[in-house]
Amino acid sequence: MCVGLLLTASLFAVGLARGAVGCRVVYGACLAICAAALAIALGYLLSDATAPATTRLPLGLPWLGAHFRVDALSAFFLAVVNLGGGLTSLYALGYGRHAPEPGRVLPFFAAFLAAMNLVVLADDAFTFLLSWEFMSLTSWALVMAHHDQPGNARAGYVYLIMASFGTLALLLAFGLLAGPDGGYAFATIRASAPGPVLAGLVLGLALLGAGSKAGLVPLHVWLPLAHPAAPSHVSALMSGVMTKVAVYGFIRIVFDLLGPPDWWWSMIVLTLGGASAALGVLYALMQHDLKRLLAYHTVENIGIIFIGLGLALAFEANAMDWAAALALTAGLFHVLNHSLFKSLLFYGAGAVLSATGERDMERMGGLIHRMPKTAFAFLAASVAISALPPLNGFVSEWLTFQAILISPYIPQWGLKLLIPAVGALLALSAALAAACFVKAFGVTFLGRARSPAAQNAREVDRFSIAAMFVLVALCLLAGIFPGFVIDAMIPVTQAMVGGHMPAQGAVPWLSIVPIAEARSSYNGLLVFLFIAVSASLAVVAIHRLASHKTRRGPAWDCGTPDPDPATQYTAGGFAQPIRRVFGGLVFQARETVQMPPPGDMAPARFEVRVRDLIWDGIYAPIEGLVARAAERMNVMQFLTIRRYLSLVFIALVSLLSVIALWL
């Protein structure tokens, strides 16, 4: 089935490399193939075929072969991957033409898509890890596409190191699951039930492995480096799709392969999720680099997804299948939503980048006049990611809240205490996200242009616009018809946690009812209609009754004209109050003001230093340790022959004495 298709896809794209024509051809081909795969996946998901389709190719481990399998879960993620992949290809049809060296992007782009599909399809440990690491490799190559820009080398370095750290963790996890006689096929692993200690170990390793790829705090350090470095459509893929593949890996291992969970697992997952959600958005608020800001938001959303998964684990451990299904649905729904609006946001950022050549928000502004379409798309995405109705972001967070509200039925006290706190963190992160996107959109697109580049920006090409508007439409549809999405996930939750939410298609007025009508319900369509109707009512009324006179005039300036756009609020200034509130404890923000003495005409200087405590706390020490150890070891290169001989001598004598004592 689609396996062969994708493999051919990658090969054929790797073959085709250079030139603008090749650009078109490759991206077009990727678009077509992804569309086909998407169709297949959706067809599988919607047609209630319960039997998973499997194939086995004589590749990979010789005595095992490469197993591939499509069940509900993988079908769902296939849909996510190929949706993102296809739209990105569409976007890249236009955007990719700005790439200085297409030869460094094209082959890896296609291979990257293929690798992600393979991860989702793989049905044995070897194939899974091979595709997983291949995914990292190709995306690394894509990150290094602009290799001559400063800092990118480091970004790629940190990225690949973290990636293979994760792979090694997963390697160990699968080693545990497979057992000494190497039963690497997922079917075998499912059949064997690991002991509690073993399972806990595997969970920890899976968290390390999938978390380092998904960007879970404290393994998130590579995202803010790699996403800005990569070309924008690649960042969109990495952030919107690849992190979801990581989530898939986690779900596959923990929910599917690992058997029934313990309740304390969910404690870990929930804690990490909450921490990622809150820290991610707080760090995002402090950024001026648009793409870095978006990268930190990926951390936040991954946190939200993991909160959903953690709740699902907690419920499943207490045999509350319906609740587990609700939580899992919330998580998966957010997976879909995030892939939608985060890709859209990165497209927007890419459009801005290609139009102004700037990533620094402090040098943008007023772009809504120059590139209205992009601005509109970006606005829609901002509303969606800020979890505001009637768009899709709200629905998944609403579902998560509903799941949290069931949690008092859980007996364990640890969870009773933890879950409300996590809920608070979730609410906090939602509010902060809204604040952050007011900043992002406001400073970038509104106000007056802060640099000539922004002054003369031009709207981007039609392919990019098309891709963006498709996503806007999808965000809206997923927001006002959530019932269909939820119904599509029924087989997934059925397979994973053995329960599913009530079918929403039957509910009148297309509203969604997670548990019971009396308990809670939400109807995106009606809310949307209400807003539309009442807004138009207001417009009509005003335009009937009120005067139509409109005059353009200068903005009110208290009588002291400030033509200089530098007098606007900057991104840093905008975030300052929040930095004052949270910054002190979260990232040790230090503000220093140097005010010249009165009469001195020198400008006052104000600078803020924000530290990433996680980097300073965890990664820097490790770096230093390795460096010291290497320095110590290095003398071994410079010994004299006699010393080397003494090494031999010592080794010999010690081994001999071992023998002498041994026997």
């Binding site: 290169q637 410079f638 010994l639 004299t640 022959i641 006699r642 001989l645 003494s646 031999v648 001598f649 010999l652 004598v653 001999l656 004495s657 023998i659 002498a660 026997l663």
Partner: protein, 220 residues
């Protein structure tokens, strides 16, 4: 008879160990060379003895090689080198004679423990020889490690290799002994020539005296 055979072999092998200790003890270069010649000579004797007891005539060749090459040519060659390249006449030690001797004792003890425990059912002659051979090998290595001059290191190596020959001949009916001894003579010859060609006066570590900063690779 066999008792006598055993005693003589034992005597010779033990004598070699003793000479190894003398090697360790030597502080002067020429003395070292002389003692080494003695070492080789004793080796030749014991190999010949083995040849006689095992009536394996080919071992006589080995004995001859030992006698001519190791006891004759090489010491003379080294003698010349020492004079030609006017190397210090004293053996520079790293650890110092006394401690070295103690270490040597420990090594001999170690090898005894190993061997005498090890070869429970091997025939006693081979056992003794092996024990002594092992201690000679270890002593030779010890000498290479604790001496600074190239020449004394070469001598350490050669005494080590004498130990090997002893072991090889001690192992009854071992084939290829001759070939091996020849091969080793070639090896030693290489080393000596190397010393001569590369003008290694002081130590193995550097190849020429006139380079002051010493290259050990990868010093940026």
């Amino acid at each position: 008879m066999s008792q006598l055979v055993f005693d003589i072999a034992h005597l010779l092998a033990g004598g070699m160990v003793l000479v190894s200790f003398m090697l360790l003890y030597q502080a002067r270069m020429y003395g070292l060379l002389k003692v080494f010649a003695l070492h080789a000579f004793v080796l030749a004797l014991s190999v010949a003895w083995e040849a006689w007891t095992q009536d394996a005539p080919h071992l006589y060749i080995t004995a001859g090689i030992a006698l001519i090459v190791k006891a004759g040519i090489i010491p003379l060659a080294l003698h010349r080198i020492v004079r030609r390249l006017n190397i210090h006449r004293t053996v520079e030690t790293v650890v110092g004679i006394g401690p070295t001797m103690l270490l040597g004792m420990a090594l001999v003890a170690l090898s005894m423990v190993l061997m005498l425990r090890v070869t429970g059912d091997a025939d006693p002659l081979a056992r003794e020889d092996l024990a002594f051979a092992l201690s000679i090998v270890l002593l030779g290595l010890l000498m290479m490690v604790t001496r600074r001059n190239a020449v004394s290191q070469v001598i350490g190596f050669m005494s080590l290799e004498n130990g090997l020959i002893l072991a090889a001949t001690g192992a009854k009916g071992m084939p290829l002994v001759v070939e091996i001894s020849v091969a080793f003579s070639v090896l030693v010859a290489f080393i000596v020539i190397g010393i001569f060609l590369f003008r290694i006066r002081e130590r193995f570590d550097t190849v020429e005296l006139d380079v002051l900063e010493r290259f050990r690779g990868d010093r940026a």
